[in-house]
Symmetry: C2
Subunit: 218 residues, 2 copies
Amino acid sequence: MTIRLAIVNDYEVVVRGLASMLRSYSDRIEVVELDAGTDPAARVDIALFDTFAQSFRDRERIARLVRDPRVGKVVVYTWGADDPSAGSGQPPGIAAYVSKRLAAADLVTALERIHADEPVRRQDSGHGPLVGGDWPGREEGLTARESEVLSLVTQGYSNNDIVETTMLSINSIKSYIRSAYRKIGVTTRSRAILWGIDHGFQPDRVRLDDSGGSPEHR
Amino acid sequence: MTIRLAIVNDYEVVVRGLASMLRSYSDRIEVVELDAGTDPAARVDIALFDTFAQSFRDRERIARLVRDPRVGKVVVYTWGADDPSAGSGQPPGIAAYVSKRLAAADLVTALERIHADEPVRRQDSGHGPLVGGDWPGREEGLTARESEVLSLVTQGYSNNDIVETTMLSINSIKSYIRSAYRKIGVTTRSRAILWGIDHGFQPDRVRLDDSGGSPEHR
DNA sequence: CCGCGATACACCCCAACAGGTGAGCACGGG
DNA sequence: CCCGTGCTCACCTGTTGGGGTGTATCGCGG
């Protein structure tokens, strides 16, 4: 019996990339995008919350998923900070955290174990490159991290805001920003924002799973 | 005999505002927007180059107007720095400079005198508010200056860039930026840029009079 | 005539950002 | 097995930006 999975992220390309990464496992995982077009009543076994350029303060978002009767378990797909429970309290109701550094096969296995209520060992396996998936700016030569911080820059966040949403050090943020600047050919934050807007680095913001919430100010 | 006038500026509101300000003088001035839709072969007596958020370094732009066989005289509609010939050499071929602080009636008279090759006394009359006209962000409570610098901010210019294009002091720039921030409710440049994009503070960039030029990198 | 708003500029302070260098660790390919 | 790439962080420096306050002139409206 296949697991019905929803991928939650505001970036079209992220959702599609993750979906295509899981396509070869369609016998074990069925990806049901919680997008416009899907029946609001459709039930899913697991909602996979992808943290790419998601505000971690958007605990609201996760809380809404947990409350949602259509959603079985909520799993956070994160960069695998070795201790996700660190920081000032995570929102309750999360079934598990899985690392973005897992290979596709391991991701699928992990999801299956979570669905079967088996304990998942935190097998983060250290630091390695993100396998599979997709993200905005990939063809421009940006790495996943660079794209992530650039997305947040494009949305008008300060470096300190980005520290909070990514749980990285301020120094790392600055490093990623600099290398991203070099790759996209800008030297100021302002130009980077304009570049980002021109290249689809702003979230789409029209999601069904977000409906019911307040109409994002933006 | 009426004077055929073209208003040159990338901002729709600016062109329309100036046109409506001159509407009551339609017996003496006929406004022919050099916009898409106008026959490229249409001749105008005077091209009025509005410097609102125009790069003053865009001397290219003025030079192209001067060269254009469809254009009689080129007049620069500026803030009326008392000495427009100041700075590092203005582009040649400009028939006159007229101040933005002139009332509509005086503007019309000045254009008539210029057209008749009569000398125009520099009657700048000091510092006063801009009369008539229109600019983006007017209804948001922004003054013409605030809107102008905000436009340039939105386009990704640094404060020093803005100094060059507006010929104001860096201190003035910062003052205008701060008061604009207060009015639109932001505290950082990044947010101001996003606000500007959401409120049409970017030039339109599809002008016939600009055709033949290189496709703006933007 | 006096206040108010707009333009224009000055001086000051401090936080934020840009840019450089270096360094450790993990992984994958030659 | 080393080399390159990506992720992570640190330290340092210089420039830019944000914010406050104050001053001056002009023009409009009460």
